[in-house]
Symmetry: C2
Subunit: 234 residues, 2 copies
Amino acid sequence: MVRILSIVLTVNSNPLLSTFMINNLPDVRKVMWKAGFAIGAFCLATELIFCILRRRRSRPVNEVLFFPCETVCMEHILSPSLQLSCFCPLTHGKKTSMYHLLQHILSASSSLDVCIFAFTNTDLSRAVLALRSRGVAIRVLVEEKNVSICGSQIPVLLGAGICVRFNRTPISMHHKFAVVDGRKLITGSLNWTCTGVHDSNENVIVTEVTELVRPYVRQFARLWLCNDPEQTCV
Amino acid sequence: MVRILSIVLTVNSNPLLSTFMINNLPDVRKVMWKAGFAIGAFCLATELIFCILRRRRSRPVNEVLFFPCETVCMEHILSPSLQLSCFCPLTHGKKTSMYHLLQHILSASSSLDVCIFAFTNTDLSRAVLALRSRGVAIRVLVEEKNVSICGSQIPVLLGAGICVRFNRTPISMHHKFAVVDGRKLITGSLNWTCTGVHDSNENVIVTEVTELVRPYVRQFARLWLCNDPEQTCV
């Protein structure tokens, strides 16, 4: 709209253009026809290009994953270099909800913040370790009473040098969310456990809608600070 | 854009307008100036109005609620007619996360579908009953093993004639979501329990983003059918 207005004003305010039009009377209608079409086509083309660019740039990820999902081989995304040499008896190459969840976690390029009630799933743990080996900054906040449950992956993460904090407040930490690169939220009812993934009806939302992601980023920062072993809760 | 193009073409293709401009040469520049401004102002105004209307119409609800929240009096939204006569010792009029959650549930005008792991919270139960008395179609799907836990509201809902189904499949029903009028989703880590609301760190997303709501509508329909006591699971 602003572009079109500026073109109209430029044509009208240009004395040279007006003088040219007055001195060439017989051609005025023809010129106006051509100019009209040219301006129209130009505006239409630029608006179209801007519209496509805007839509492409601003379309956020919005995906829903439901569980339980079948246990299938995840080697092709957890160890891409080994995918051709995996001969385990599981189904290969199937894109389950777990596959999509791992893909979203592995899409992290700079940071991953996890705030979780329980963490026993080895595929999810391997994804976090893979990010660690790529240099992604990882912070994990977990409910303290679930740190030492059977199959807990927290000792594995601690062993790999990942920064883990424990909720020691009397308020139970029941969240199950992660934030990828500060802009993609993964949240829902799913605890990062084997039972959750394979034996329960669960839901996970993956979204980049800023209004939804920002509150979780702030909440993680608050809880992280609140559970700093050297600080008292704020 | 299309509107502007049509204006340009109309001006150029109108022989009367062109003839008028040729016969009134001294005024051509003045007329062009005025016409330019008039067209510009008109287009700017209409684009602005359309832009405001579009934004207002298409802006979906996107809200995040965090728990735990303080126990405050909810009589002013659960029994609006009694709000002035409530003398309970709780804080009155405070807009906590629970207040907003209740507001979203009470916004239902045609239907409410609840798919929940455990349901013991009396404020939430009263909201569902209030909807029932307004004639809203309510369906509640709950994990069977939690139907008779201490404080369960399921017997209350059944007593009021609300349609409740129980997950009797071996796959545990761990969801905690509700869909209001088929277009507003309420989901997160929060079980509809007193512990969840007042004693745990929990999160709830309220959204009207169609890409997020539709899968839950379909999932509820599937689970509802799957748990029809007269049908076998599909």
